[in-house]
Symmetry: D2
Subunit: 385 residues, 4 copies
């Protein structure tokens, strides 16, 4: 096993999560990742760069991401920056022969996404998009059950991802509120996770109808980068041109149907990502805020004990229970799925395996987002390409 060096671009919240996940990965997977290092941090803020690098456990830091790309001893990069920077970074990284793990939403639109996907694929590199929720052990367990046919043929997928941080009217007009930087609002930030989950567990989307609204139309101008402090200017207000709330109806190519709701204005909801799936053989309910539990109904023929089972994740025969906390009920937090993802990405590089979610998934995700945006604008059903 050769030395594998990673570079991390982004000193904000996502960057911190990746750095902690990297450290956890070392503790969970031991020998399997012993030659992997997180070598360089790229972050714009000069004054904080060194301290952040120390905090993240990274020896070297720099302010220019293009410089990172030109370093020969960096084999792969993690891009943890806002949406609008992804394309340039990905194309440059791939051009320099580096494997790439990129934050979501992948690109600003499907066309860009396709270009990024083609570039990475043609270069023969490993590429991944950070749809981190996929790698939750509970989700991997659900995926296993579905693949084994325990839900039979799926016909309904219904999901919501609701937060309430947008209800603060004094919240700054950060990049997440601007189309040119974020592509979409709650739909891109939260809905993209739902779309990925649906594609992972159910299949490809077919037709779509969406409705969206922006409830807080102006916000005080402030920072562009999440996690980077900026002077708030309460007197200068800027326009919010992305959705606060979005509801979407859809069918899948396999005939299933469903709906999704995303919102930044759902008072009292913090990170409420829930979904339910119904099939001929059974049903599932999952809420990420209770990510160590899955509710499963799978009785072929009902009897007097039939009901949704609350499965506590982490049992011996559950995914990654050997690597992570070996006792069910101890429970994982936000970083563990990132650790699993990073491990799988590294494993894919070392052992030339397929990694998913890949840029392909990023592209398909952007296609669905694009279709929804058209449907919202034109108020009609749109077929996903």
């Amino acid at each position: 096993m050769n030395k594998l060096n990673l570079g991390l671009i982004g000193g904000g919240f996502a960057g911190q999560v990746h750095s902690i996940a990297f450290r956890m990965m070392k503790g969970f997977f031991g020998q399997k990742v012993k030659n992997v290092s997180l070598k360089v941090l790229v972050t714009q803020n000069e004054s904080k760069g060194r301290k952040l690098a120390e905090k993240f456990g990274i020896d070297e830091w720099m302010g220019d991401w293009r410089k990172l790309m030109s370093k020969d001893n960096i084999h792969a990069v993690i891009i943890a920056t806002p949406n609008y920077k992804h394309k340039d970074m990905v194309l440059e990284a791939v051009g320099k022969g580096k494997h790439v793990l990129c934050e979501k939403p992948f690109a600003l639109n499907a066309q860009d996404a396709k270009e990024m996907y083609d570039a990475a694929e043609n270069a023969g590199l490993k590429h991944g998009v950070n749809f981190n929720y996929r790698k939750t052990p509970a989700i991997l367990l659900i995926k296993k059950w579905i693949d084994e046919g325990r839900l039979g043929k799926i016909f309904t997928f219904r999901s919501s991802y609701l937060q309430d941080w947008g209800t603060d009217k004094d919240g700054l007009l950060n990049w997440r509120f601007q189309k040119k930087y974020a592509g979409a609002g709650s739909l891109g930030d939260l809905g993209a996770h739902i779309i990925d989950m649906a594609r992972f567990l159910v299949g490809e989307f077919s037709d779509i109808a969406g409705i969206a609204s922006t409830r807080i139309n102006k916000r005080p101008v402030g920072a562009l980068d999440f996690g980077v402090s900026a002077e708030k200017n309460d007197k200068i207000m800027g326009d919010v041109d992305v959705d606060d709330i979005c509801d979407v109806l859809f069918t899948f190519k396999n005939g299933a149907q469903g709906s999704l709701s995303s919102s930044r204005l759902a008072k009292g909801r913090k990170n409420h990502f829930e979904f339910e799936i119904y099939g001929t053989g059974g049903s599932i309910y999952f809420d990420w805020e209770r990510r160590n539990e899955v509710l499963l109904y799978s009785q072929e023929k009902p009897n007097d004990q039939s009901g949704f089972s609350k499965v506590i994740v982490g049992a011996t025969d559950h995914p990654y229970s050997d690597a992570l906390w070996a006792i069910p009920g101890l429970g994982i937090g936000f970083a563990e799925p990132f650790s699993i993802q990073l491990f799988e990405f590294i494993d894919a590089i070392y052992n030339d395996k397929d990694f998913s979610p890949s840029f392909y998934d990023g592209w398909k995700n952007n296609q669905v987002l694009d279709a929804i945006n058209v449907s919202i604008k034109e108020r009609r059903f749109i077929a996903v390409l």
Copy 2:
């Protein structure tokens, strides 16, 4: 207070519920309904008529509903029959000057519904549709909070009503599976309740997009009337021409938006009628299977104790807590809301008050159902009239 005599049409499940609700009403409301009697039961099945009447606590029974309408000592009728019989019965009753409380869904289509509404209204009679869930004390409490502005301006309503009795492939082709008798499938049976709840709590519908599917297309021919036994003929299969599953996206005239899902094929779900509402001032979650609890978030400014409050219904200052079980947490069952409804209907007659949900609500409900059915068929957004 003069003597008020009621007639009940329907000896099936709904009929039984109304008869028990009538008895409970007597016990809950005492003097206020002391001169009210449930006098006559109409049910087709001759052999069971007498026994059913005894069970329901009704002195007289008959097989012909038209005969009931011509009885002068009957002042009001409860129509608890399948959908397709409502129009004739309502028009006849109204023609004979009788107040009418009718089961839902009200009519087979909005045109019929309008005719029925106009007839009752023009005759100056009290009329109601049995959207029983409205009368759940928890719902009346939610309505009170909304009217008082505790949720602020509402912008999202999201609901599902899921059951699984349809998953039994050997289940008979009863009236609920046939368009000519039921009008719609899960949408008419379950979705109609959601639509009424949305109209009650949020407002009138504006635009709609729907998707539906029928998963079990043929069923053994059997009984038409629910609750009436029939010879099942496994060899003769008939077509199911209504939806098993329906998902709908919508906007309200006041600008709110949302979605609904109805299903008869949601394995493990028994009577899972849930909804969530989000507004500028707060949020609500309610699940009818836990009908004595409301989850409410209503903090103006969050503090370190903020969260959804589980309000146990039945406290002194909750609706009807004085009439029903006076101790919160004792809890109500399926019949109590019917009792409240019946009381309010009788109260409206005695004291010439408005009653709701009225035939107007039945008509508006049918309009929404019609719009959804068109949207499903033509796969486009439809404006509700």
Copy 3:
């Protein structure tokens, strides 16, 4: 089936529940109880007697319970009065050859209870104590599972019954706060239900250790009878001489062990009666505030789907699902278990069956209460006789 006439003593809350339960029973059980009548109400308050009787659906009322006992056309009586009146009433009723269904807690102490039990038994009459929670369909389902061995050998029973109405310091010194009338405080009111549940589901008690405390020692003098209004005198304060809170540790004769907690001062708890049972074969959790659900774990060998199943009560093969609401998830309220109990009591009379919980159960319950009271006082383990 001969005519069977019942008399009801008590016009308070319990009396109202019994009267509504009687009416529901008629609707649920039909022909089986068609010759049963609730004929006479006894209640002290002259001014309200007639109105209460009308509300309760009872033709005749009187103020003197001894007069009821001497009526030949009354075959059975329901005693729904405070604890301290039970003994005289029971002995008189039994002396007059009447079957008796008596409210809980049965007697003021085990000695009285034994006398009452012997009297009824020697007279060859049917006798029952209103431990209504036993008759909840969910509890009957749990009992069935235990009898079928699905939990294996039980080794733990842990329960609490918590309310918060006692936290109001201005609450009157009613009979429930006085030892001479109530026998015990939260222990007698709530703990007695836990004790009955434990005896029903697990077995007879062996050794006991208890701790209790009274937190609000004085209350304004007021009504003796619950449900009867009285002038509150805020200036005259009386002593509370029963427990507000009680915790008990115990073993069963079959070797199982456990604990119970009762309280009137558990802020936020309304009628929170919960228990959990663990055995060699499985586990159960039940909360009466969610009385239509049972959580059951019964996997012999765990697999990747193992977990507590939320069984929605009311399925075809669940107890009394044919008589009550025939669709699981519709759900029962506070009165339905009273209806079942009344039906079983009447069925026992008509068909000479054993009825339980009988006075024997009342006596055994009082024995446990007595042992706990001694343990609390002497702070030592006490063997239940």
Copy 4:
């Protein structure tokens, strides 16, 4: 800030947790712990030592813990070994001037514990016991609320800690089943955590009554050390001489009362550590399996919105929300509380602060355990010293 080097004794599960927690701590607390290193791992198993050290991110390893104690460049040690080894290790470490963080249960009995506490205290060193659950952000939030008086005067604490790994009859007779190694069974393993939580949140114990039972009395002889593989010998069975199940009743010196239950045989329960607290001002319910939620009732005067609030932990004004995941609802797993604990321990060393839970807490915990064991044996109430 000087260099601070730690040694870790124990290569089993607890050792792994501490090593991951150390890495997370670096990522969460950054500059504040930048000069701290985890330098040496001590573990018995020679063949695995090097690999474990690599996995744990530790440069050096050794097999002899006494050797570690004699190293001058080690300033503090983490003892993550079975119970029976703690005393020797602690006394040696303290004798060599090293600060000590020791696993729980602290000692085999209160006498040993006192000796260990005195030694550390007299040497002027920082000392801590790993009651990790205390450091859960939710628990720190609850503690803050209690200290601020939001629950008023507490009068009830009721808790259970239930697992089911003991139900496997083929499970080896590891050290946790033997008194000489573990001191107690479920009581020492799980009950000790409850006792610590009660002392932390409510106060010191006063009187105690306990009941315990051992249900699986013989197990196949196997490994002594948890986490170290051993040849299982199914033919040689050894005696289990500690409790499987334990129930305890108690009072606190401040007048509160309560109970605890611990079990290894609670089928379906994985790491079910729950407690509820009732006071004059409010109530709390907490379940560690849902460690990112606290149920709180704190209304001074009830209104129509009163109920238990589900507080999602991680809001801006919650403990450590700035250091850990900054968005409520992202949620923590098993290791985060260990990270906080380690940080506080290091902070105590650097800044000469008090650390708790200290050896004093370990000693008081052992006193309670001893009292329970006497009560179980002699079946009488015992006063805790």
